[in-house]
Symmetry: C2
Subunit: 265 residues, 2 copies
Amino acid sequence: MSGTDHSLLRPARYPDAPAVILVDPQMGENIGTTARAMLNCGLSDLRIVRPRDGWPNEKAVSASAGALDVMPPVAVFETLPAALEGCHQVYATTARPREMVKPVFTPHGAAADMRTRQAAGQTIGLVFGGERAGLTTDDVALAHGIITIPLNPGFTSLNLAQAVLLVAYAWCEAGDGTPGRVVPTGDSRPAPHEEVEAFLVRLEEELESGNFFRTPEMKPAMLRNIRALYLRAEPTDQEIRTLHGMLTALIGRKGTVRSGKCEAL
Amino acid sequence: MSGTDHSLLRPARYPDAPAVILVDPQMGENIGTTARAMLNCGLSDLRIVRPRDGWPNEKAVSASAGALDVMPPVAVFETLPAALEGCHQVYATTARPREMVKPVFTPHGAAADMRTRQAAGQTIGLVFGGERAGLTTDDVALAHGIITIPLNPGFTSLNLAQAVLLVAYAWCEAGDGTPGRVVPTGDSRPAPHEEVEAFLVRLEEELESGNFFRTPEMKPAMLRNIRALYLRAEPTDQEIRTLHGMLTALIGRKGTVRSGKCEAL
C-alpha cells in the first residue's frame, strides 16, 4: 500500500509522537524496517542502544524505503537509561511475562494511556528488544509499563518491525478521527424516500403487467420484501435514475404488446 | 516477539477466521510473509490468484517462519471470483479511493463488521493486491466493502505482509478479551487500606523523630502529599512489608540516639 503525498514528505519530524528505542538491535535491515514502520504511523524519533553493527548503517537506510532519509538523525546511546532521557512514561514491549508488579497493556490499552498522557504534555518512550534476545528483565524494569500483543498462542512469530508497527499503529489509530465506516457517494447524494418510492411504485406496476404476482394474497408480502432489498442498498439519486432506465429497457419498446396490454406512450 | 506454545502448533486450522486472498502476488517471499502474518493472528485460509512464479514456491515456505508448514494447503485460482467461493462478505484493502459507491472501513471498523457477520454464520474474505500494482478497480468491484488503513499521509509505505497484518490483527483484537491494562501481582495481593495506613502512620512517626516537618502548619499537607504518592503506587502486601523493612534500615540500629530521643525497642 503506497500513497505518500510528496508535498508532506520533508522534513518528517513529529515531535508529539512517541519515541522508539531499540535495545541491542542486531541487523541493520531491522533498524531500517523499524524506521519505515514508524514513519508510516507518524513517529519520527528513533533511538538505538548499542547497535551491533554500529551507526550509520547503509543496510538500514536501504531497508527503510526512504524513511531514514527524511526522519531526524537517529540518536545512538550506550545504555538504555541514557536513551530514555526526556521520556516521562516508558512502555516496554515484550511477550514474556516478568516477575515484577508492573502494568501490562494491550497495544490498544497502551495507546489510550499514551494519548491521555500526551494530552497532559508527557513524552512517551516505546522500548523494543533486539532480534536475538528481546529485552532483559533489567531493561523492562526501567519501564513504567509493559505492552504485550495478544496473538495466536499456537504461533507467535512477529519480526521487530511488525511489533513496532502494531504498537505504533495502535497509537496512530487512537488519535485518528476517521469513522469506522463511511459510504462515499461522490457527486451523488442518497435518494430521499419519495424518489425510492416512486421507483418502487413504477416497479410494482410493471411487475403487475408482467404477471409477476401469481396470487393476490402473496402480493403485499412480496412487495415488502422487494422494498426491503432496495432500501438495504440505500440507492443514490443517480442509482434511482439508473434503475428507472434499466426498468424501461427491460419492459421493452414503448407500445410493445405485453400480456394483452398495449402501452401507448 | 516469539512465544509459540508448541502444543498448539499442529495443525493450524482456523475455519472460523477470515480467508485471505492475494491477487497476482509477485514474489514468493511475500506470499510466505503473508502466511506468517496471518497465522500470528489466527488466520489459516490463504488463497492466491495467478501467482507470478507458480505454486508451490520454496521461497514462500522459507519466508513463512514455519507458517506454511502447518497451515492447510494454499488454494490457487485463475480468477478472483473463483477464489471468493464460499465467502459471504468480502473486503478489499486498498489505499486508492475508487469511483464506486461502496462502504469504506478502517481496519477497526471492518473488524467489528466482520465479527458481527461471523456471529451470524457468514464467511469473510479479505482481498489484497500484489506488490506491483495493487488491486484493479474491477477486483475491488467484486467486494462488498473497502478497507483503507489510515496512516501518515506524508509517508505511506507498507509492504504486503504489513497490510495483511494490520487488518488481520484488527480482526484478532476485536475478538480478544484481554483487558487493556492489568497489573499482575503474582503471589502478592494489593495491600488493603489498613496495611497501607499502618505503614504511613509509622512513617509519619519516624519522619517526626527525624525533624522532617519543619513547620507544624505545613505538616498536614505534606502528610497528604506523601500519602498520595504511596497510594498512587498501589502497593502490594509484600511491598508494604518491604517498605517497613526499608524504614527500619534507614532509621538505624534499634536504640540509636537520634535527635535526642532514645528508641528502646
